[in-house]
Symmetry: C2
Subunit: 303 residues, 2 copies
């Protein structure tokens, strides 16, 4: 089996990118889409994010064999409720949310008896909205699929093939493990970045102008992440609360240890720690998960 | 007055870039250089980082009118002692260290009676060593000069002109204020990045392989910063201890507040905070301090 009629609910960065990618890499498939915001629907139609922008979620899903929910994780349940009575038989409902256990719970509750296979493409940029998406967003990125215990293997295989067609590499994972892995690789980094950017903008001895001016010393990297969609991230932290708080506690312990090393002037401990963290960067580049050029290659273009 | 015989002590990323930039943008000036590591001297000669690689610091500075110390801030005092009795009359001694009060203290102590004008070009990449430098490193970046109270204005002007010739924009600042500004724009971000990369590599429930694999969700940005030179950063944190600990305390307070908001599920507080931090990103891009392309433009090339 393979999907031929794809409905996308939510036409922001992720939904728009899925729509564009399907049209580019699965040209035989038909795409419909809906967004609750009329302005987003208008932009989606103008950009051709999907072949057909519908005026309701119900219209968008009526003939679909795959529905991909691309709304913030806190809005998954209500989006599912909106389509519940309009889903055709045999449809698979999936999503792109950044936390998976809470989304699975919400969808199973809202759509009893429907085939639900949650997924999370680990891809994105700091941009959001209907103008932010592009067809190659998922290229060489991982997409984690978290099928519930009783999921149909044929449907899981079809969803895997779908994401692979869009350029992604697929991994199957338990939802709870996904939430722990993403808490450390994505959610904690975002929380830290949001925090430090807030701290920097709120000092009495240093002006915001100075912070901006001298941001090339490291700070600017954090501002990119902290420019991500506030609604999406509010929902992620609340949806994945337990894993995030757990990781945050470990981070705080480690930070306290380095703070103490600075206070007592323990250069050896600092050096040992800083030396160790270099190796991870090398591995990330070797596995094709980041750009090897110094400074992300920014020097080649910026300024 | 302008400088015509530039001696560079320390031929890593910064020293090498100064040497290459002088040769490209001030072709009339003569450059000499020294590095304590013989292997670095050999690479420096092979790459032509300076016109003349010397076998001792004394030889490098003997005829200089400007000496630029490009060693880790913890090595400034011993580097200064090494050249103390070999400096010609009228020479200006400067540096590129990331903390300024401690460097000023060390140089004034080691070089009594010598004209000392510390400086800090806010530029760099995560690479280090004699192969990392390039001539355009300082283009459009700020160089902060922190002249002591009794500095000769003509010498300060000459040093400003020197950095402007290398492509930098110059700002004059009090050393103590510099240290506070850089604590927040550079030192704290590096400490946080080093911490989180350490935390992520040391979890029992998530493997290092998983952290690397799914790093595109945000984590990879931190690994770039945490790949910076361990010796340099060990020295910076110890040299600028007071300002770093001060900023760290504010950061921890802010993080605790967000942690509490997550724990109690206060979405409004999270949203308000995340919304506010977006504006800073816009300003940094408007001021030309970062690349406007999403994801630093990485998507255009990587993977």
């Amino acid at each position: 089996m393979s999907f031929e009629r794809i409905a996308i609910i939510g036409l922001g960065l992720l939904g728009g990118s899925v729509g564009l990618a399907v049209q580019e890499f699965l040209p035989g498939a038909h795409t419909t889409g809906f967004d609750a915001d009329p302005a987003t629907r208008a932009r989606a139609a103008a950009r051709g994010l999907v072949a057909q922008v519908c005026e309701s979620a119900a219209d968008a899903v009526r003939n679909a064999d795959l529905v991909v929910l691309c709304v913030p994780v806190g809005a998954m349940e209500s989006a599912a409720q909106e389509i519940a009575t309009h889903l055709p038989a045999g449809v698979v409902v999936s999503d792109v949310g950044s936390s998976k256990q809470s989304v699975a719970d919400a969808l199973i509750k809202a759509l009893p008896g429907v085939a639900i296979i949650p997924a999370h493409p680990v891809a994105g940029t700091e941009r959001s909205g209907p103008d932010a998406g592009f067809a190659s967003l998922f290229r060489q990125r991982w997409c984690i699929i978290t099928p519930p215990d009783r999921a149909d293997p044929a449907q899981v295989a079809a969803l895997s093939a779908f994401w692979e067609a869009l350029g992604a590499k697929v991994e199957i994972m338990d939802a709870r493990h996904h939430d722990m892995v993403l808490a450390v690789t994505s959610h904690l980094p975002h929380l830290i970045a949001y925090t430090i950017v807030g701290t920097a903008s709120d000092l009495e001895g240093v002006t915001e102008g100075e912070v901006i001016k001298y941001s090339a010393g490291g700070f600017r990297d954090f501002t990119r992440i902290a420019a991500s969609d506030p609604t999406m991230w509010r929902d992620v932290f609340i949806a994945n609360k337990d894993a995030v708080l757990n990781m945050l506690q470990r981070f705080t312990e480690d930070l306290t240890a380095l703070q103490r090393a600075i206070r007592v002037g323990d250069g050896d401990q600092l050096f040992e720690h800083f030396e160790r963290t270099r190796a991870i960067r090398r591995s990330i580049i070797e596995e094709g998960q980041d750009d090897a050029r110094p400074d992300f290659g920014r020097g080649d273009h910026s300024g």
